[in-house]
């Protein structure tokens, strides 16, 4: 580095040392995403084959609330991103209460929107049941319930992870770990992307 380089540039050029364990958290979550994607691909293959297997495929009209749920989930990704930015300067040793409070607030928003999504999905099930479409009614409805249930279960796991991260922020001594939070955010965004994909499949196939 020449002596005329500005200090800010020099600092930015220095490599960030990530501990091996933080790297492992990140690898781990991406590996987990691969496996969850594969399992949904298996369900979708089953859907395609089942559709072609017999002539009993009748179109179902998706409950409108699904689109509100989608909006809630996408917004939750946005609030999670705001939370990530707020918590970026927070480290395990220093307790920057302003950053922690902001981050916690955005996380609460994310949690609320996530729970709203789950409640909305349940309401969508109730609306379908009111139409007489249950799990075993026909092949379409079977796949609707299975796909949304699987996504919902995985989302609940994401909610559990959010609660865990939030609890870490609240603890005295601030045992908040960035690697865990980063893994949670990657997972949460993946849940949103997965839902968009599933919605597309439900709309076009079901």
């Amino acid at each position: 580095m020449s002596s005329t380089t500005y200090p800010s540039v020099r600092a930015a050029a220095a490599p960030k040392v990530r501990s091996a364990h933080a790297e492992a958290s990140r690898s781990g979550i991406w590996v987990g995403i691969c496996t969850i994607t594969m399992s949904f691909m298996a369900f979708l293959s089953a859907l395609y084959v089942r559709q072609g297997a017999s002539a009993d495929w009748t179109h179902i009209v998706l409950p409108r609330i699904l689109y509100l749920n989608t909006l809630a989930l996408l917004l939750s990704s946005a609030t999670l991103e705001m939370s990530r930015r707020a918590l970026a300067p927070v480290s395990g040793s220093e307790v920057d209460s302003v950053a922690v409070r902001k981050g916690f607030a955005w996380l609460s928003g994310t949690l609320a929107l996530g729970l709203l999504f789950v409640a909305g999905q349940y309401e969508a099930w109730r609306q379908l049941a009111a139409q007489g479409l249950y799990l075993a009614t026909n092949a379409n409805s079977s796949f609707y319930y299975v796909l949304t249930a699987m996504h919902g279960l995985h989302l609940l796991a994401g909610i559990a992870a959010l609660l865990f991260v939030m609890s870490r922020l609240l603890l005295v001594g601030n045992r908040f770990r960035h690697s865990t939070f980063e893994a949670t955010t990657i997972y949460w965004h993946f849940m949103g992307v997965l839902w968009l994909f599933l919605l597309l499949v439900l709309r076009t196939k079901l």
Binding site: P15, V17, R18, S19, A20, H21, E23, A24, S25, S27, G28, V31, G32, C34, T35, I36, M38, S39, M41, A42, F43, S45, A46, V49, R50, A53, S54, D56, L135, A136, N138, A139, S142, V146, M150
Partner: protein, 589 residues
């Protein structure tokens, strides 16, 4: 992938108390031993079941004393009914494929040695690791529960084809709660395996010590890594399949059950499903699964042979690339289990080509092993004998695969003893030989005491000869039309084959008896075996640089630095004809 730049803080604190040290342990070494113990229990059960099956095939009306205690309905008066024979073979297959062949070479040895061989203190996620073992144990207990319930175990085979497995109680004994337990057990097993695979991958990618590049990892580490990549994606397909099966059975859905199906004089209420769908989903998992069963043993055997030959293989890199190609190609061949299933015959062609192609990397590996052995001064011990036995079994069992890979020949051989002989030799024997080799090789490191060498060699010869006597005749039986999964051949056109069946049964019971030598050796050596030094085999890889048994944090708080590839043998080193991976001496070349 770059090496880890900063060393992590201790992954977990030193264990205190009996429960933390030996039961709910976070230590990958304890978890590895727990998996091994589970595999041992499962193999004893699976082998016992095979003895009952073999006995019944040649003496179907002879009473087996005490068997009525296992099942009053299935074995009244100690005589196995045809339906119970199917239950026995279902549980035999399920226990062996899942709880032995996926557990022992991969989960047991991989958990124990992968972190050590890459220079890590533990796996990346010790809590997930502990969870994966206990999940697998719960799956085992749920499966074994099927023996105890009045309904009995399912009769649909380890492959659980729909619609037999999907319609419920109407399908026969054991197809009510027995089949439900099977589905639940395997679903839980999938979760345990997925957690384990995730751990292996993250650990291999991110926790390697300084200087341990990917190409400097030992061959067995590579085998475990590639296996975990396959397992990650394969079990992710079996789990949805099991979920859909359970829904068909319990919730009235029709994923796999077609319309108008009458079973046991009862019209089934389902409609529109596809039985072939189950086969596709199952075998899309099932074929990679058999490579999950064999790849770790290939790695273990390569590792042991190099040590015993005191020289590296002709090319470790080619072996690794071959293992990767096998892993890649394994996804494209699943239809070769379905040539006669009724799927489009043109698809059969599309599956036959990659099936034949996958023999190429397997053959290259065999040629490398054999070519490396040529001119080598091989140290003969139980471990190296089983390693050689692996190659023999892998070739013998593998060549029958060439025949089965061709749809026209498979039409004749499908569901005959030819197929049973093929997969038993490659999976059942070759893979187990890898486990035996690994046990004799690493027992000293794991327990601090060596296994008895003489008993080990006796075990090898009896098992080697015995398994050839059992499984080679299967190919002949298959060629003359002996169908598999039948409980009795005495009274039909296969009557003239009974002398051969009797020979096989006697060989099976004798070889089974020989395994007690191994069990005795395993237990006896734990207490009275010769104390093991740090490096009894004069090995080069990191597991030989730490005490036997290793301390809780593997390297005693130190962080090894790697200077060489893992197989510096046949060179002038300070300790002998080898240089250890973490030794700063210069490499030979």
């Amino acid at each position: 992938m770059q090496e880890a730049s900063a060393q992590p803080a201790h992954v977990h604190a030193p264990p205190e108390g009996f429960i933390r040290k030996h039961v709910f342990s976070l230590d990958h070494k304890v978890i590895g031993k727990q998996y091994y113990a589970l595999g041992l229990l499962a193999v004893c059960m699976g082998m016992g079941l095979s003895w009952l099956m073999r006995f019944h095939l040649v003496w179907p009306t002879t009473r087996i004393p005490g068997l009525e205690l296992l099942s009053k309905v299935g074995a009244p008066g100690g005589v196995i009914t045809p339906e119970y024979y199917l239950s026995l073979l279902t549980m035999h297959g399920t226990l062996m494929v899942f709880f032995v062949l996926t557990n022992a070479p991969f989960a047991a040895f991989g958990n124990y040695f992968l972190p050590i061989q890459i220079g890590a203190e533990d796996m990346a996620f010790p809590r997930f690791n502990m969870m994966s073992f206990w999940t697998t144990l719960v799956a085992f207990l749920v499966l074994v529960l099927a023996f105890v319930i009045p309904d009995g175990p399912p009769i649909s085979g380890w492959t659980s084809y729909a619609p037999l497995s999907a319609v419920g109680q109407d399908a026969g004994p054991g197809m009510g709660w027995g089949m439900n337990l099977w589905g639940i057990s395997i679903a839980i097993f999938c979760i345990g395996s997925l957690l384990g695979a995730l751990n292996f991958i993250a650990t291999t990618l991110d926790l390697r010590a300084k200087g341990m590049t990917l190409m400097r990892m030992p061959i067995c580490t590579w085998a475990w890594f590639i296996t975990s990549c396959i397992a990650l994606l394969a079990f992710a397909v079996l789990l949805p399949a099991c979920i859909l099966l359970i829904l068909d059975r319990t919730a009235g859905t029709s994923f796999f059950i077609p319309s108008g199906l009458v079973v046991s004089d009862r019209l089934q209420p389902h409609s529109g499903g596809s039985p072939l769908l189950w086969q596709h989903l199952f075998w899309f998992f099932g074929h990679p699964e058999v490579y999950i069963a064999i790849l770790p043993s290939m790695g273990i055997v390569s590792h042991i042979l190099i040590n015993s030959m005191r020289k590296p293989l002709l090319s470790s890199k080619v072996i690794i690339y071959c293992m990767m190609s096998i892993g890649f190609l394994s996804w494209m061949v699943w239809g070769h289990h379905m040539f006669v299933s009724g799927m489009n015959p043109f698809s059969s062609l599309l599956f036959s080509f990659p099936t034949l192609t996958i023999t190429i990397p397997a053959t290259i590996m065999t040629l490398i092993w054999l070519g490396s052995l040529y001119g080598a001064n091989l140290r003969i011990n139980a471990a190296s004998l089983f390693a050689l036995g692996f190659i023999s079994m892998f070739v013998s069992g593998g060549v029958s695969g060439f025949f089965l890979a061709q749809p026209s020949i498979d039409i004749v051989l499908h569901a005959t003893y030819f197929v049973v002989g093929h997969f038993h030799m490659v999976m059942g024997v070759a893979s187990i030989f890898g486990v035996f080799a690994g046990t004799y090789f690493w027992y000293g490191k794991m327990t601090g005491r060596m296994m008895n060498e003489k008993l080990g060699q006796l075990h090898f010869w009896l098992t080697f000869i015995g398994t050839y006597c059992i499984f080679m005749p299967f190919h002949y039986l298959g060629l003359v039309g002996n169908i598999r999964r039948y409980s009795s051949f005495v009274n039909d056109f296969m009557g003239p084959l009974m002398p051969l069946h009797k020979f096989i049964t006697i060989a099976a019971l004798s070889t089974g008896a020989a395994q007690f030598i191994f069990l005795f050796n395993l237990i006896y050596s734990h207490f009275k075996g010769k104390p093991a030094s740090e490096n009894p085999w004069e090995g080069t890889t990191l597991e030989w640089s730490i005490p036997s048994p290793p301390p809780w944090n593997n390297f005693g708080g130190k962080h090894p630095v790697i200077y060489h590839d893992p197989y510096q043998y046949g060179v002038k080193g300070s300790k002998g004809d080898y240089i250890m991976q973490d030794s700063p001496e210069p490499s030979a070349s």
